[in-house]
């Protein structure tokens, strides 16, 4: 039946052939996005005249619609095998790793949640029922009863003390929270991998001095160090990302160094040496790629950790402050209402728990898939 | 009643690639005080067989179904009550494993690990158990037993560790000792010493010995009888000398060709071509046929039965008719030979 069915709806042929997960996801994505653009037609049409966020949302919408269709058609022709959608965590993962990962329902659920949050973040302008800074109560002639309104059909997650819609703010706030996590981890990875690789490969004085510095940074309890940096230099996204990255890289450095040391002694690196490859080439082309498995695992777990740390900083009043704040800062702002208007803080908190949980699930899955020996410790 | 009697033992492992028939219908007996060798390449199922005797098959990684019957002095071990099985483990049947490096717990002293076994199986007080531990260490030829007992495994050489393992196995005064590749990891001179030790304690204590190895020469030095295992089945069995001198199965001949023995250095090495296939996809017909150099058409289609044979000594022994005791082989060639007078 395949050939014609595949042009009716993406995912449908997969469903018929019993590939419920892929088919279901594709179908759901496609129908869901279609319904979204139908329901928020006005907002979508407005987007081309909007800011960059609107543009991103529009491109995402069209891109995912087209992508799902193309995948569905191609996959059906090719007879399956590929991964549905774009998979953030699977970049650079060997095919074997992906096969193991795919079989792990918890890891797949985690990946699903992470991707869903990213998609929601990109589509925030269309998904959010209100503008994130719509403050009905403080408009001219506004109604104070709009403040701290309990969850209802209009405001699914209620409103906060400025009468802003909590759901909309969570959707927009994901931009900050998720970006801070990614940026900080990305930055610390860059520094950490580079220094770790150099220390592990070159050894000697360079190794000693890098590792002494690592030891020194790690001798500070992390949160205190963060607190000090952020408090003394005033919280801004840049400062917070830098501070988080600065307290994260020693962990990466230490780990990469260990991996490189272990790999250095293995046959293939000696073989490469014997073949006369340059040291730089051996390090970056042969050793590092082999050390990346555990690095990716730790980085994934690190994102969850960073989001938690950012929430902790926010709780102490040192979070990312912007017109659309991070979830952590929303949690902080809502904290004083926890006893009477729990929804203001509870939903951002829930979003944090969910995303961190999802990143940890993905990290666990990756660990099983890439490196069953790898272990991690929580270092907040 | 035999010391150990295995009937139609099957062990199937569920792996990601499918069901692996690691042990696929094995019969044999081992009498009191007898030394039997079990020989096969890795993947032939010999280790799985050894582990299933004491119910030590790895748990968790795929369900394992031991079927058939393993009787120890007439007592059925398959599906046995766990408490009784524990009494038998180490007490009546003991095992010595392949890797002396990893088979001893690195965080306890050698002495304490042996003493633990002594206390478990013998009604001795602490002091007596300690003395017994030292005695056992001396028995397996460890010099300066007192100091060695207080050592941790990593402080001992490989040979010493294997001696310690044997001492631990002897701690419960077992009547059957299963030694699984117990000398493989050791270098050749040590290997010879350990084999000598095994043989001597076996004869001295009158134990049954099931010696498992991939190396026919190792087994032949110690055992009265040999079983050749391939693809989870016995392909040939018989008294050691007969197997060595007149191997019936092409596989056995292959093994003999590929063995490298100390006293036989000049013989050229002729390895068996190919590798043992995965236990999940045995070929149809005779499992050995893809590697067999004397393959017949029939081999592709049907698997031969284990045929009782007349030994070189002429007569099938008294226990003939009982599988796994006499001279047997599993090959169509033998049938052809017989048909063709």
């Amino acid at each position: 039946m395949g050939s014609r069915v595949r042009f009716v709806l993406p995912g449908l042929p997969h469903l018929f052939r019993g590939r419920v997960l892929e088919g279901g996801v594709a179908l759901f994505l496609w129908l869901g996005l279609l319904a979204l653009s139908g329901l928020r037609m006005d907002r979508v049409l407005q987007a081309p005249s909007g800011d960059i966020g609107d543009w991103v949302a529009l491109l995402t919408l069209l891109g995912v619609l087209a992508g799902v269709w193309i995948w569905s058609a191609k996959d059906e022709v090719g007879g399956g095998g590929g991964a549905p959608g774009g998979s953030v965590g699977s970049r650079g993962v060997s095919v074997e790793g992906w096969r193991v990962f795919r079989k792990d329902p918890m890891a797949m659920a985690g990946l699903g949640i992470v991707l869903a949050f990213y998609l929601a973040m990109l589509l925030a302008p269309f998904l959010a029922p209100f503008e994130p800074e719509a403050r009905g109560a403080f408009e001219v002639g506004g109604d104070m009863a709009l403040r701290l309104a309990a969850p209802s059909s209009t405001h699914l997650m209620g409103t906060d003390q400025y009468s802003q819609d909590v759901l909309s703010r969570i959707l927009y706030g994901a931009r900050i929270s998720l970006t801070v996590g990614l940026l900080a981890v990305g930055l610390s990875l860059t520094i950490g991998v580079f220094l770790g690789a150099i220390a592990g490969y070159l050894g000697g004085r360079i190794d000693t001095s890098i590792m002494r510095f690592v030891d020194m940074v790690m001798a500070f309890p992390r949160l205190v160090l963060l607190l000090a940096i952020v408090a003394l230099f005033q919280p801004s996204i840049l400062v917070i990302v830098l501070a988080l990255a600065f307290t994260q890289w020693p962990f990466t450095t230490r780990m990469v160094r260990g991996e490189i040391l272990a790999l250095k002694g293995r046959e293939f690196s000696e073989a490469a040496h014997a073949l006369g490859f340059s040291r730089r080439r051996i390090l970056f082309m042969h050793l590092l790629p082999n050390a990346m498995g555990p690095v990716i695992v730790v980085a994934t777990l690190g994102i969850g950790n960073i989001i938690l740390l950012e929430a902790g900083l926010s709780f102490l009043g040192l979070g990312v402050r912007a017109s659309t704040p991070s979830w952590g800062f929303m949690l902080f702002e809502g904290w004083d209402y926890m006893m009477d208007a729990w929804w203001v803080a509870a939903f951002p908190g829930l979003a944090i728990v969910l995303v961190v949980l999802a990143f940890n699930l993905v990290g666990d899955g990756l660990r099983d898939a890439l490196d069953p020996r790898q272990r991690e410790g929580r270092s907040q | 009643m035999s010391l150990l009697e295995i009937q139609d033992l099957r062990v199937h492992l569920r792996t990601q690639g499918g069901t692996a028939r690691a042990v696929d219908g094995v019969d044999f007996r081992l009498e009191e005080g007898e030394a039997v060798g079990l020989v096969g390449e890795s993947g032939s199922g010999k280790t799985i067989l050894a582990l299933s005797i004491l119910g030590l098959l790895p748990q968790g990684s795929g369900t394992i179904l031991p079927e058939g019957s393993i009787r120890f002095r007439g007592e059925e071990l398959v599906g046995m009550d766990r408490n009784r099985l524990r009494e038998i483990r180490g007490g009546e049947v003991a095992m010595v494993f392949q890797e002396p490096m990893t088979s001893l717990n690195p965080v306890f002293t050698v002495g304490s690990q042996i003493q633990e076994a002594v206390e478990l199986h013998r009604p001795l007080g602490r002091g007596a158990a300690q003395a017994e531990t030292l005695r056992l260490l001396q028995e397996v030829g460890i010099p300066d037993a007192g100091a060695r007992a207080a050592s941790y495994p990593h402080q001992l050489s490989g040979g010493m560790r294997q001696r310690a393992m044997i001492a631990m196995a002897l701690a419960g005064e077992p009547s059957l000792l299963v030694a699984d590749e117990s000398t493989t990891a050791l270098d050749v001179t040590i290997q010879a010493q350990i084999l000598k030790l095994l043989k001597s304690v076996q004869t001295r204590l009158g134990m049954g010995l099931l010696l498992i190895s991939h190396d026919l020469s190792v087994v032949s030095r110690v055992c009265d009888r040999i079983l050749i295992l391939y693809g989870g089945r016995v392909v040939e069995s018989g008294p050691t000398r007969e197997i060595l001198e007149a191997p019936k199965h092409p596989y056995t001949r292959g093994l003999l060709g590929s063995r490298l023995s100390i006293d036989d250095r000049r013989r050229t090495l002729r390895p068996i071509p190919g590798e043992v296939p995965e236990a999940t996809d045995w070929p149809p017909g005779c499992k050995f046929h893809p590697r067999c150099q004397e393959v017949l058409d029939r081999c592709h289609r049907e698997e031969p039965n284990l045929l009782p044979m007349a030994g070189s000594q002429g007569a099938v022994e008294a226990r003939s008719g009982v599988p796994g005791t006499g001279r047997e082989a599993r090959c169509w060639l033998l049938v052809e030979e017989e048909v063709e007078p």
Partner: protein
């Protein structure tokens, strides 16, 4: 491994037992040459009252008051904090006079006082039965010592302005006899408010301490020996202060207070505070958040005394920056802020609109001023237009002739109320084309920014506790344009004139018209946008009785607080 862990646990428990022991003041290892003997004398003096406890069911019990921040100390320099000042005034020390419920002066340490006809002399007659907690009698010597100490800038006393009209140094004070002390000054306003505020210090303990060292002397933070109804018992820094009833407190003033013990606890989170109040862990939660007050009012076990308080909340506009140099712009900003809505939305209606720095509880408060700068965005827009600020590039914000945008940065330090006000102001001013940029600063940075000479800010959100004597000289007088409090830096001769005059008129009737003129002028100059004076809301457990919290302070009636014996906490 477990052995080692339990070893660790044991180690920690035993360390706590010998170091963290509260109760005797010596626990935290604070004993030194000064405090050790001082506290020992207090203990032995208090011991002489053993067995003489008054009988009555109201006597006994512990009351716990919870607050967000620690009380820095009992020294004269600490009086800048409202909490510290209250504990000095009502608990630990005595003031010469106190105010009754009608804010009329009443005898306290002084039984009586006279002000000379020409308003230049004030004579206090002291009670003879007031003893320092270590047994020394409180005399005129102590009062004179206190005066001489606080007028010395080295003492870092928070309100030197009180004594501006006093004759300098020793000329200002005269010990007539051990129980009589006389002050000399030029005529000025609200003379007695000074003496309601100033806690008297023990001369016999601090007389030898160089004034410059007083601010960092252990007396303030470790062993404040006072003469008030409660005597200092112990302090766990950052966590709590404990006072006990002073059995030697004069009978005529009610004698020993009912409560055995009063504990001030620092609980750094409003939510935890509220939970403690609900759970009964604290009896009083001072300065509740508005939403917690709403909750507490519905709770049968709690009540929420809500009362006007001499505090003012305002935006100080820095007139030194070009954007804000023009009074029309400042007036437009005030017109563009919907203050009643702020009160309604953020304070749940529990605040009084302000148009000047005179809080509603002050006698010179003029309610008719309320209407004059009412929210009127249209008028605000017109004013900005005439001042030359027009949206020239169509981005929604105004620019001047040079194209410089009307961009105002507003600094504040983190606090729920200020943050909300800043955010709401931003939205409302956006409506009239002003680009307000709220900038939250860390506490110390904030106070540095607004008080240092550089004044690197455009607008600042500030809360002041004014007390009952208003003196705006250091805020607006052109003579002190670089002074600590001269946030705005406006220069206006008319204001200067009023400011100079007001402080010299002791008579209220006579002063009132000047006050009115002053406030009207203030509206013109508009150095500040006055927002509101919030009512003070304290959550109080109903088991605590005799509590009259009012304008004078949360603790004004602490001598009369009592608890029902059945509802007392166990220790």
């Amino acid at each position: 491994m477990k052995r080692s862990l339990s070893f660790l646990l044991f180690f920690a428990l035993s360390t706590t037992a010998c170091v963290g022991e509260p109760g005797d003041g010596s626990g935290v290892g604070l004993q030194d040459a000064f405090c050790g003997p001082a506290m020992a004398r207090v203990d032995s003096f208090m011991a002489t009252f053993a067995g003489q406890e008054p009988v009555g069911e109201r006597y006994g019990g512990t009351v716990v008051l919870g607050s967000l921040g620690d009380v820095s100390g009992m020294g004269p320099g600490d009086a800048i904090s409202v909490e510290a000042a209250q504990h000095q005034q009502f608990l630990n020390f005595m003031t010469l006079i106190e105010f009754d419920e009608n804010l009329e002066p009443a005898p306290y340490l002084a039984t009586s006082w006279e002000i000379s006809e020409d308003q230049t002399e004030l004579t206090f007659h002291l009670r003879g039965d007031v003893y320092w907690h270590d047994g020394e009698r409180t005399t005129a010597q102590d009062v004179a010592f206190t005066y001489l100490t606080v007028i010395n800038p080295e003492s870092e006393y928070a309100n030197p302005g009180y004594f501006q009209a006093y004759l300098p140094g020793e000329e200002g004070v005269e010990v007539v006899d051990p129980l009589t002390v006389k002050f000399h000054f030029n005529p000025h306003a609200d003379i007695l408010e000074t003496w309601r505020n100033l806690s008297i210090l023990p001369h016999h303990l601090l007389g030898d301490v160089p004034t410059a060292e007083l601010a960092r002397h252990p007396f303030g933070g470790v062993c404040p020996v006072g003469n008030g109804p409660f005597r200092f018992s112990s302090r766990s820094p950052g966590d709590s202060w404990t006072w006990e009833a002073n059995p030697a407190f004069p009978e005529a003033l009610g004698g020993r207070p009912y409560l055995d013990r009063y504990v001030y606890r620092v609980i750094p989170s409003h939510t935890t505070l509220m939970a403690e109040l609900l759970a009964g862990g604290v009896d009083v939660y001072i300065q509740m958040l508005p939403n917690h007050a709403v909750m507490a009012r519905e709770e049968p076990s709690l009540r929420v005394p809500t009362f006007p308080y001499p505090s003012i909340f305002f935006v100080a506009w820095n007139s030194r920056v070009p954007e804000l140099a023009d009074a029309r712009v400042r007036r437009a900003l005030t017109l563009g802020i919907n203050r009643p809505q702020l009160i309604e939305g953020i304070q749940r209606g529990e605040a009084i609109l302000l148009n000047s720095g005179i809080p509603p509880v002050h006698w010179a408060y003029d309610p008719t001023l309320e209407d004059s700068l009412r929210y009127d965005p249209d008028q605000a827009r017109t004013l900005l237009d005439t001042a030359g600020w027009v949206d020239r590039d169509g981005d929604g914000f105004r620019e001047n002739g040079d194209g410089a945008p009307l961009q105002i940065d507003l600094v504040y330090n983190q606090n729920q109320e200020r943050q909300q006000v800043a955010e709401v102001m931003r939205v409302q001013l956006q409506d009239i084309g002003v680009d307000l940029r709220p900038r939250v600063l860390e506490r110390m940075t904030y106070s540095g920014v607004i008080t240092s000479v550089e004044r690197e800010f455009d607008g600042a959100l500030v809360t002041f506790e004014t007390g009952f004597r208003i003196d705006d000289r250091d805020l607006f007088h052109s003579e002190v344009r670089d002074g600590f409090y001269a946030f705005s830096g406006t220069v206006d001769p008319e204001l200067d004139r009023y400011l100079d005059t007001l402080q010299l008129i002791p008579d209220w009737e006579e002063a009132l018209p000047v006050w009115q003129a002053y406030q009207l002028r203030l509206l013109e100059v508009q150095p500040y946008t006055y927002l509101y004076s919030a009512l003070r809301r304290n959550g109080v457990n109903r088991r605590l009785q005799g509590v009259a919290m009012d304008t004078r302070g949360d603790l004004a009636s602490i001598r009369h607080w009592w608890t029902d014996p059945q509802s007392r906490r166990t220790p």
